[in-house]
């Protein structure tokens, strides 16, 4: 059984890799239009293997984890404490302060039994979290691959496309199954490269090439943070493995050091997320803990397109649509969510870090939803919607409770289904419309492509969170967990304020794993309440933009662009079947995975809670199976209101929309001041009389001064007005809050300027100094040339002086002796 499991675990990523190599080798010459066969076959195999693994995990008791090591990637023996006296955090925490001085530890170093290797093994793990991710990734990939057979049919780079897809599935499955931060980073980058290659798949399009580069670079900024976080974990914990590893038993060290150390072979190096560390709770909080969390979060923000680094995802829509569905909606962008969920114990140790996660998620959700309201590019609306939904997931994770984390992961799974469905539907529309994606150019397609329409409708309902569809359950779970968090925090706060009774009930201490200060409690309660409200507003906006998109595309008068060439049709079966399957999943996944509404169980959350790093690390488990009817009702109400709003705007008279846009664009806010208006005012009878009276009193100049003053005031006042006019709510949303422009102006261009400056500096200053030094000998030569007089006597004198100087330098004794001789000779001469 063990052997079979090990083989299955390696088979899940190995099959797509083999397919990628095969297609890359044979694709261009032999396979050509059949290039999809190896890939689809491999994905079927992977998907089945993943399902078997998931089923296996399902049957195991809670806390199951399985680690299998395949080979050693890199090994630097004694890297951590071999030379350092600082012991890892485990010993630091346990050592009573003041017993070890640096000098002592420095002497101990080298032969210290705490010496740690930097060892990176190719180790795969299996637990509930990994099993769920594997099943989701391979299942969606399989469907998207089948869809792509139809979508990419006849493309010049057909084999290239399937190679990249297979490579991506390999990297993504490895990313979720590795058990080491270095390898996590390795595959984190690898999926990034697949994304880069697939965004720039049609590399002749300048926009596609630029978008690929932008995605890579923005992700690199995130990776900068991620790398720093990993380094900090290394310096703090002295290991980068998730799992516990046996401490190194080394002959070479034992040979040089005292053989006494050999008896400690059973010692275990606790992994960062290993069961031993979770059990003892040896996690660093405070400044270091917060720094680790924030740096990891920066990495997650890059990959999962969260607020400061979200700008690459909309541009990534330049890639083929199946890629957008698979990589930029369902799987790769959730890597950040997976990573934060995986590192839950690290985040639990730092409540402030959790708060930041939740805050960034909420803010991103709102921001992206606001932008999605006004976009006309169907795929971009979906891209912003993805960013917004990922924000929800981060909000769930940021609550730091088990309910919140399982809600976030639940949303990840349901979102994968309905967002992949929506993207593939958009691809189907694009396929029929001759690659036109601007919603202003087509409309009323529900008769032309009925199956696409119905599946798209299901996707929209799920995304909006309408009752029985999957999006409703997961979104509701997130809202409920945030609400529960607020309640717990407030409860705790009240308890603290009335903390006169000393025997406070410890059951209420579940506000978090770490004891929170009153300040943190108050701030947390306030912040989570704000987030709850924001999340509700976002839910409303979500259903507005979702149904706007649906109505613009499928309702109204039938319009088909010229690019479609009169061949607008329903897509072929290969493309429709994946849509139908995904629609089925999007419709029922929520009801199947969350049964709390009728029997109070939540199979998904129960399974996920079995992940070792979640069971041990997170405090409360009480909210798991509870179904909050009040919150469900509120969120459903909000969603329905959004749908109603969109229907009122887009199904009826379109002039309403235009009027609304005019209002939001602040039309008619022209500056009220101005000479013309003033002149008109001067013609008013009363004013004119007053004016004439002033003129008669020879005070006309006062009047003129007054007018000029008023004009000046109006001018000053009109500046913010003009600014408002320029940055009206509508324009802010349509212009994506001008973040791209802001980054361009504040980051990219200044850096280019500095680069240019450095380059000029290098050519003229740094190299100039070198050249000046190089010319120095020549200049010296011209100076020395003047000494070449041609007088033999001068040369003789110079020679003698030089010789003397040399003597002085070489031998002091000789000089004194020669001096004595010379003096004697001189004296003799004088005497003579």
């Amino acid at each position: 059984m063990d052997e079979i499991l090990n083989i299955l675990m390696i088979l899940v990523p190995a099959l797509p890799l083999a397919a990628a190599v095969l297609v890359a080798a044979l694709g261009p010459r032999m396979l050509r239009a059949r290039s999809h066969w190896p890939v689809v076959a491999a994905l079927i195999g992977s998907c089945l293997a993943s399902l078997v693994l998931l089923w296996h995990v399902w049957r195991q008791p809670s806390g199951y984890e399985r680690v299998a090591t395949y080979w050693t990637w890199a090994l630097v023996p004694d890297a951590y404490a071999g030379e350092s006296g600082t012991q890892s955090v485990d010993s630091r925490i346990d050592v009573p302060p003041g017993t070890a001085t640096p000098a002592d530890s420095a002497r101990l170093a080298g032969s210290s039994p705490r010496a740690r290797d930097f060892a990176v093994d190719i180790t795969l793990r299996l637990d509930a979290l990994t099993g769920i991710m594997l099943a989701m990734v391979t299942f969606v990939s399989l469907l998207v691959a089948i869809y792509s057979i139809g979508y990419m049919h006849g493309d010049r780079g057909y084999w290239r496309f399937f190679t990249y897809i297979a490579l991506f599935v390999f990297s993504m499955t490895m990313l979720v199954s590795v058990s080491n931060f270095v390898l996590l980073f390795v595959f984190w980058e690898a999926v990034g490269v697949c994304s880069y290659l697939l965004i720039g798949f049609w590399y002749e399009k300048p926009a596609a090439a630029a978008a690929g580069m932008k995605a890579f670079l923005v992700n690199r900024v995130g990776d900068f943070g991620f790398m720093l976080g990993v380094f900090l974990i290394w310096t703090t914990y002295g290991t980068l493995n998730y799992h516990d590893t046996p401490a190194p038993v080394r002959d070479t060290v034992a040979a040089s050091a005292a053989p006494v150390g050999g008896g400690e072979a059973a010692e275990i190096v606790p992994g960062v997320l290993g069961s031993q560390r979770i059990a003892t709770g040896a996690y660093v909080g405070g400044g270091t803990g917060l720094a680790i969390c924030l740096l990891l979060l920066l990495g997650a923000c890059g990959k999962s397109a969260q607020f400061p680094l979200h700008v690459w995802l909309p541009d990534a829509m330049e890639g083929p649509t199946p890629v957008s569905a698979l990589i930029h909606a369902a799987t790769m962008v959730t890597a950040g969510v997976y990573m934060v969920a995986r590192c839950t114990p690290l985040f639990t140790a730092s409540p402030d870090g959790q708060l930041v996660v939740a805050a960034i998620g909420t803010f991103t959700a709102l921001l992206a939803a606001l932008i999605a309201l006004t976009q006309f590019d169907l795929k971009r609306v979906l891209a912003y919607s993805t960013i917004s939904q990922l924000g929800y997931m981060f909000l769930g994770l940021g609550t730091g409770t088990l309910a919140g984390i399982s809600a976030g992961m639940f949303h990840l799974v349901t979102h994968a289904f309905f967002k992949a469905l929506l993207f593939l539907g958009a691809g189907s529309v694009m396929h029929a419309m001759g690659n036109v994606i601007d919603m202003r150019q087509f409309g009323g397609l529900r008769r032309v492509m009925p199956r696409t329409f119905w599946t798209f409708l299901i996707g929209c309902l799920a995304l909006s969170g309408i009752a029985p569809l999957s999006g409703f359950w997961s979104k509701d779970a997130i809202l409920a967990s945030v609400h529960a968090r607020v309640e717990v925090l407030e409860h705790e706060l009240v308890r603290r304020q009335g903390a006169a009774e000393p025997d406070a009930d410890p059951a209420h201490g579940s506000a978090g794993a770490v004891e929170l200060s009153a300040d943190q409690l108050g701030r947390g309660a306030w912040a989570y309440r704000l987030m709850y409200i924001t999340a509700l507003i976002t839910a409303f906006l979500t259903s507005v933009y979702t149904f706007r998109m649906l109505y613009l595309t499928f309702f109204g008068a039938q319009r088909i662009p010229a690019e479609a060439g009169g061949r607008a049709h329903e897509s072929p079966g290969l493309m429709v079947w994946p849509l139908l399957i995904l629609a089925g999943c999007a419709a029922v996944a929520g009801m199947v995975l969350d049964q709390s509404y009728w029997n109070g169980t939540h199979p998904f959350a129960a399974l996920l809670a079995g992940t070792p790093s979640l069971t041990g690390a997170v405090a409360s488990t009480e909210a798991l199976g509870a179904f909050h009817i009040d919150i469900a009702a509120v969120s459903l109400l909000v969603a329905v209101a959004g749908v109603a709003c969109a229907s009122w705007l887009y199904l009826g008279d379109r002039r309403t929309v235009h009027r609304l846009r005019a209002v939001m664009d602040l039309e008619g806010w022209a500056p009220a001041g101005g000479r013309a208006n003033l002149l008109r005012l001067a013609q008013r009878p009363g004013v004119r009389g007053w004016n004439q009276w002033m003129e008669r009193m020879r005070l006309g100049w006062l009047m003129h001064l007054l007018v000029e003053l008023v004009l000046l005031l109006a001018l000053i006042l009109s500046v913010p007005l003009l600014l408002c006019r320029f940055m009206s709510p509508y324009r802010l949303s349509y212009g994506k809050f001008f973040l791209d422009e802001l980054y361009w102006g504040l980051v990219v261009q200044p850096l280019r300027g500095i680069a240019w400056l450095c380059s000029v500096l290098d050519d003229f200053f740094v190299d100039g100094i070198v050249n000046a030094l190089g010319r120095l000998p020549a200049h010296l030569g011209t100076i020395l040339r003047s000494t070449q007089t041609g007088l033999v006597q001068f040369y003789a004198l110079a020679m003698i002086l030089g010789g003397l100087m040399l003597l002085v330098l070489v031998d002091q004794q000789l000089v004194s002796r020669v001096g004595a001789w010379l003096a004697a000779i001189m004296a003799g001469c004088g005497a003579w």
């Binding site: 890199a74 090994l75 630097v76 004694d78 890297a79 951590y80 071999g82 030379e83 350092s84 600082t86 012991q87 955090v89 925490i93 302060p97 003041g98 070890a100 640096p102 000098a103 530890s105 420095a106 930097f118 270095v182 980073f185 390795v186 595959f187 980058e189 690898a190 490269v193 590399y203 002749e204 300048p206 596609a208 090439a209 580069m213 890579f216 670079l217 690199r220 900024v221 990776d223 900068f224 720093l228 380094f231 900090l232 310096t235 003892t280 996690y283 909080g285 405070g286 400044g287 114990p345 639990t348 690390a617 850096l751 280019r752 450095c758 380059s759 290098d762 740094v766 070198v770 190089g774």
Partner: protein
């Protein structure tokens, strides 16, 4: 055949080959270049045998394949010997030299069209010189080979270079020679210091290192002076930040083969010298200079990357990227711990492979379009798909993509630097080191920027070619070009997938150096701590302040 004989014959084969080529000069072009390729392949095969025989755990004791012959002045007073041998540090650079020379010959296959016999003879002489540098165990032999590498390269640039070739050749020669003279004086100073203390003059590098371990150069000011002298030669070779201006010029003007070998091997002589002499022989000075060297390294990383970003000439861009990458090497080496040292050495090899290949690729583009201007080219992926594919692989390798070779080196370097700043016990200048390590990581973003920009401009987007190119057909990679690039690409993947193979063999040698410098660093930290007014660093205190918490 014993390993020693094998090693000597590996070094001698190119020398003999060079002589043979001069004799063959009457014969046609194809004979000459085939002979040259044959000689390099023989050398490479011999090297492969050497690598295969090298112990897998890297423990070589006194050296691997040590061979010593008497030379001039081998008698008692001088003891200058012709002694060669390999260890974990020299092995991979030695192997890389013989590999890259095959590449260099192959990229010159069609682009060199005059005085071929002389050209290939120069290349082979250059190879012999580099092999000698990395195998030398005697200071005089080392220095002779060290200087000898300049002469063939001087002629390669000066005769077969581009428009400004003579200026470039002169500048390169004078600049590096000026530095290396100081290096020679410093090496002699070390030799005489040891002679004074042991009463026996020796030029043997292992003997000198061993006796300096027991009798370090005193006082420290002397060590610093000698360090500075060695620094002059090696830092110019590396090139370290403000001393780099000869590099872009030499690269741009050199023929492709010259650029490949210059970037791949000659720069590594500088870093090799730092490890072999500065660190191993002058540990106290190394410990004292560590922050300065780290600052120079990180300045090189960022400055090189920024200047590369502003370049319009592909070769200049890659040349400045070399400055940046060599900054990583130096950063790793001067982190003075195992991780950094091994990462830095691995990074030397990685840089040799990927930058060598990038220069080769740009040479191939130049052969086709006769321009290196980025703005004159565009969308070439459509016209030259295989060339574009290789370009992408080596670009990704150069920006440190995991799975390819750049990553393990870069990651170990940065990890080592972090450990120096945050983890290691002798806490010296930790504030500065924190800044340095964070700045160094930010270089990763800039590095990706200029390389991807280059690829995007030249290979993606709509097709753009210079008008002159229309005259003759543009073809994708030819067989000899493929042969030049494919082994390098394979190596890129191999190192990326299994760096342990390379790290294992270099580890024991490097650990020896690390141990010495660690000791000095500890002494230095001790002396700082004893100084009045210096706050006593208390690890436990620091941990308490960090507020370590227990979960539940």
């Amino acid at each position: 055949m014993t390993t020693g004989h094998l090693l000597v014959s590996t070094i001698l084969v190119p020398l003999v080959g060079a002589g043979l080529l001069c004799g063959l000069s009457r014969l046609g072009r194809s004979v000459v270049r085939r002979t040259a390729l044959g000689v390099t392949l023989v050398t490479f095969t011999l090297t492969c045998v050497l690598v295969a025989r090298f112990p897998a755990d890297g423990v070589v004791g006194d050296g691997f394949g040590v061979t010593t012959w008497a030379w001039f002045g081998a008698e008692a007073p001088w003891n200058i010997r012709l002694s060669v041998g390999l260890d974990g540090l020299g092995l991979w650079l030695f192997a890389l030299s013989s590999l890259l020379m095959c590449t260099a010959v192959l990229v010159s296959w069609e682009s060199i069209d005059r005085d071929e016999p002389l050209f290939y003879a120069m290349l082979l002489l250059l190879e012999a010189g580099c092999l000698g540098v990395f195998a030398a165990r005697d200071i005089i032999l080392f220095y002779i080979c060290f200087e000898f590498t300049l002469i063939p390269l001087f002629f390669l640039i000066g005769i077969w270079g581009s428009e400004q070739r003579q200026y470039a050749a002169r500048k390169f020669f004078v600049y590096t020679l000026a530095g290396s003279l100081l290096t020679f004086l410093s090496l002699l100073a070390v030799v005489f210091w040891v002679a004074q203390h042991t009463g026996r003059l020796t030029f043997s590098i292992p003997e000198l290192t061993a006796s300096l371990r027991t009798h370090p150069l005193q006082p420290v000011s002397w060590q610093l002076a000698v360090f500075a002298g060695l620094f002059a030669g090696f830092a110019i070779k590396v090139p370290l930040f403000p001393l780099h201006t000869w590099l872009p010029l030499a690269h741009v003007q050199a023929p492709t083969a010259g650029s490949v070998f210059l970037a791949g091997i000659l720069l590594k002589i500088g870093t090799y010298g730092f490890v072999r002499f500065n660190m191993a022989m002058l540990p106290d000075a190394t410990a004292m200079c560590m922050p300065v060297m780290l600052w120079l390294a990180v300045a090189g990383i960022l400055y090189g990357a920024l200047v590369a970003l502003a370049q319009r000439d592909m070769k200049r861009l890659i040349a400045y990227s070399s400055v940046s990458h060599l900054g990583y090497c130096m950063l790793g080496l001067f982190a003075l711990n195992r991780l950094g040292m091994q990462g830095g050495t691995l990074q030397m090899i990685n840089h040799g492979i990927s930058t060598g290949a990038l220069f080769g690729l740009i040479g191939m583009l130049y052969d086709r379009y006769h321009t290196r201007e980025i703005r004159q080219l565009g969308g070439l992926a459509r016209r030259l798909p295989w060339l574009a594919c290789f370009m992408l692989v080596f670009t990704l390798s150069s920006i440190g993509l995991p799975g390819l070779n750049g990553f393990p080196g870069e990651f170990l370097v940065l990890l080592g630097m972090f450990q120096r700043a945050w983890g290691d016990a002798p806490v010296v200048e930790s504030g500065q080191l924190h800044v340095i390590s964070v700045l160094a990581v930010s270089g990763v973003v800039l590095g990706a920027w200029y390389m991807l920009w280059l690829v995007q401009r030249v290979f993606f987007g709509p097709l753009r070619e210079p008008r002159a190119a229309a005259a003759h057909p543009i073809t994708d990679l030819k067989r000899h070009e493929l042969a030049a690039l494919a082994p390098l690409a394979a190596l890129v993947v191999w190192i990326g997938m299994h760096p342990a193979f390379f790290l294992q063999r270099m580890a024991p040698t490097l650990d020896g150096v690390t141990a010495v410098t660690q000791e000095s660093l500890r002494n230095r930290a001790g002396s700082v701590a004893r100084m009045p007014g210096a706050p006593e660093p208390d690890v436990a205190q620091v941990v308490r302040q960090e507020g370590s918490t227990r979960v539940r």
